[in-house]
Amino acid sequence: MIKAEDFETVAETTRPHRMQRIVVVALIAVLMVLPLWVYPVLLMKLMCFALFASAFNLLLGYGGLLSFGHAAFFGGAAYVTAHALKVWELTPELAILAGVVAALVLGLAIGLLAIRRQGIYFAMVTLALAQMFYFFCLQVPFTEGEDGIQGFSRGHLFGLIDLSDSTVLYYAVAAVFVASVFAIWRIVHSPYGMILQAIRENEQRAISLGYSVQRYKLGAFVMSAGFAGLAGGLKALLFQFATLTDVNWHMSGEVILMTLIGGIGSIAGPIVGAALVVSLQNYLATTGFPVTTALGATFILCVLLFRRGIVGELRHRLPAARSKK
């Protein structure tokens, strides 16, 4: 099982320290005013991917399962959301809900098959199943082939608030993002999360204590798929698009990279990682330096040298932060 040396253990953050609370509140405040300086669409994209990476990390970092097929949930939900907006003409919140439900169902289907294997096999099986879904999307007419679903408007939130204004959308996305990260934090630091950690550390032992680990794993898988779907739905709403890019296996690879760079098994890690990767891609898009090469090199460096990721390294380097509990 993959393991960063510095997993944030459940116990470590049982009760958020006062300092932590202050930091979190400060961060949210920054999030509120950030669009004044930074391009809001970029920020929203960043939040979508941060959420996606957090969802992925829920599975890898806390469930110990490396899924190489998370693009299926992200992209699948994006398609459903886009379709719901364009064809069914649902309001955005319902469209996203539809996307999430689709991701949950897909997660259940893929999860049921994949959790039969472990470790690398699990990774390969999820990859292959997600690729199967990719080909499915390529074939069925509702995804509109290589064009993707495009050309729909964002609609009105609850039928009232017009989302075509980027600033309005920004606050809506930020709200969902903050709530979701909190939800993930809550799941991780719940009795259920503790069992998940126990399973990750010693599956046999957990079985011997009477836990049906397959169900717990499946639960984590489905929840993770659901949050990934939420991220995908948001992205579809934001860009008014759903394309094959979102279901392609490169997307699964990217989310792994984000999590790995930021640091597996911490709440902040995937967010930092996503921010970094998205900014990097954004920056490289105009420099002419090949994005794929940069991603590949980063991947290699991370695996060889910085397996803890940025957040993990920081925590490792700053013993003060560790011992303050």
Binding site: Y39, V41, L42, K45, L138, G145, E146, D147, G148, Q150, G151, F239, Q240, F241, T243, T245, D246, N282, A285, T286, G288, P290, V291, T292
Partner: protein, 378 residues
Amino acid sequence: EPYRIGVLTDMSGMNYDLSGKGSEVAARMAVEDFGGTLLGEQIEVIVGDHQNKPDVGSTLARRWIDEQNVVAVVDLPTSSVALAVQEITRQSDTALLISTGGSSELTGASCSPSTAQWTWDTYALANGTGRAMTLEGDKTWFFLTVDYTFGNALEADTTAAVEAAGGTVVGSVTHPRETSDFSSYLLQAQGSGADVIALANASGDTMTALKQAEEFGVTALGQDIAGMLLFLTDVHGVGLDIAKNLTLTTAFYWDMNEETRAWSERFAERMDGKMPTMVHAGVYSAVSNYLKAAEKSGQAKSGTQVMDTMRDMDIDDFFNHNAYLRKDGRVVHDMYLVQVKTPEESKGPWDYYKVLRTIPGDEAFRPIEQSACPLLDR
């Protein structure tokens, strides 16, 4: 702040050779030739790689417009990206100068007042090649179609042209972009017994399909191939051995007259000797005419106004004579029906085409009466 012209193209994917770097160079040439300033401000050319992904392209375009004072977005290979970006330029009223993107839908149902589709479109190809070959005696057609806007539009437009000319379509298969093995599609096409196998795809896919058709002896066994969209670089890529005798429609060939040769040689100098494709020439032409129109209209920010100014102008340069911009965004100019030379006929690299016929603009492009563009108030 300088005015920026954003060349949004494929700098890493399969359209790199036919558009990519060359489009950037062409845009820079146009700006330099124009003098480098517009309405007293510097003009800067910036380039973005959309990786053929609609989402990447639209994010970039959005950011350019919102943050970098980009007044015109240029080139747009891959119609799916072009469609996506057109949504954005429409919302922000930015000029969109499409040279590589070729779906006729861009000036059809999805047309926008700030767009000019400069070089070619699927209708023109269909009408040029499809018609000509049907009249030559290729009556039954089988399509290998790439499965997205462009391919579907090309197939639909060609089907219409073929049927209008008295031919029939006996079947078609669709394939995803960047397919590496066409053998089973070719087998189906061979099984169909059609006179022509039409390749309604582009660049890498077309080249692969051509090569494999040769491998499977398609022409040797008596069927014809129609490369519905072939760029000079594609012919260069597969070589004359394979491409010889293909008939195709193009908006430009470097070796047509003094003017085209002069410009093309300047271009080639900057491109390690590579001759321009029609879309490279189109980018140059589009940018220079845009700059003229913007200068004339007195402002650059409103794409619609610049385009309206352009609609009243005569568009005339080495690329197109007596051309004009229509209300639906279509630039109407002459097209050429050409045939690929045999290796014996060719005098060296890039000497690839013989022009069979000039197709006058009004005959080449979809008549405005048939356009589905909602901007045309009828």
